[in-house]
Symmetry: D2
């Protein structure tokens, strides 16, 4: 799976496009993505911090797409857990994800968000439904 193929799937998704996601690298175990800051991310104009739901979306996206090479498509999220470590100031963010456990029925992946100074902003985990292997599958 090439970076271009994954980027194409991202660019077709309205919310993923809105998050300004640019795939930096992908392999079977990891993915690294840059998210492009925009003013609408701001929770509070005094503190200018990025809202927690944006960070949650980035964790979920990256933890899901790290399975892309294995599964070939985004998969449904069962649940998502996010730890907030530090306030995210205006600026692009780097999101890195890895597989914790690749399972038959569901998989657990973990993602980390860094600012451009490499400070850890948030991290978390998602659990994902794995597709049932198709018998005599035809192209859909």
């Amino acid at each position: 799976m090439s970076i271009e193929q994954v980027q194409e799937v991202i660019d077709k998704g309205p919310y993923l496009s809105w998050l300004g996601l640019k795939v930096l690298s992908i392999d079977k175990e990891t993915i690294e993505v840059r998210a492009t800051w925009r003013e609408e991310w701001v929770a509070n104009l005094k503190l200018m911090q990025t809202q927690g739901g944006i960070l949650a979306a980035l964790i979920d996206f990256a933890a899901d797409f790290v399975l892309f090479e294995t599964v070939g498509k985004p998969v449904p999220t069962i649940d998502l857990r996010v730890d907030y470590h530090r306030m995210a100031k205006p600026g692009d963010l780097i999101v890195k994800a890895k597989v914790i456990k690749l399972g038959k029925q569901f998989s657990v992946c973990e993602a980390y968000i860094y600012d451009l100074e490499n400070k850890l902003i948030a991290s978390g985990r998602g659990t994902y439904v794995m597709p049932v292997p198709e018998v005599n599958a035809k192209p859909s």
Copy 2:
């Protein structure tokens, strides 16, 4: 705290405004809010489902703002957990939150997201930092 006061805080926040949040009710233990669907929420144009990060943002927002009456302002999120129960089709969403445990150092609140047919779409919990009581506090 009136609905208008809480709505005013929401309307000043870029991301909360973008989510089209309208407060329906608030008291010391609960809050109910309507979120206005927009095309950018969509994860995938084939399925047209709302992206999980939008649902996470709604859970976090409501679980935080249910403390508004008690604390008088939004508070930092320590962590957030979201369970995804059903795909959210295009359409506004209703978010209801309640306090699970009001603590001195941190509080736990829970939120539920329903579609307009009252089907449960997602639910979850956040843990929030409670402000340190100020001694001889002056207005900021």
Copy 3:
């Protein structure tokens, strides 16, 4: 499913027996159980608080067994989240659980632990794998 039938399953499980679990009530949506304090539960002899893993076991047990009426047996836990609200002093605990979402592939249930003065000690959620419906199932 009678209380006696569920109690019998509990009494056959070494760890559940060790937790001294007594079913107080059960129906399709809720379960209520009493856990019998023992000295080995103590984390620290100065504070005498019950160790968090005991509370996690009670949350997981109750959230799983609230599905018993529907499923007919304990089911595998996918993941578990526990919020600790208050230190548990020596004494029996009451655990109440309810179904949040009964699903086809997996279900989410929630449990609350109270001390005998009805103070909330801990609460949390588990996600559980639902058994695949058997075709032409025979009694096992």
Copy 4:
């Protein structure tokens, strides 16, 4: 902090002793511990799997004690999240933990449980309250 000092704290705790915990290594960022299997851990005599609450206790213990070098004592758990990856068969378990984020108010740590064949059984995270720095602190 030596292995002996940490082991001494463990051995004084009734539940930690019951879990048969033996510290294998500890430094500022990681801890590795062996837990000694006992029959009372078993959830179900047919499957002979270790109950999920035992695994939760091991995750919580290790994620907490990885802070021991920094803090000098066990600290209260705010919340705990456990992913169950594989059934744990009878046998000792190895638990490894590391710090994800050392904070001023609270810290997040992660732990992994392996069987003696190095298969990943469960993993998870806890959030811990950091002690308030004492001014003019005296030895207690």
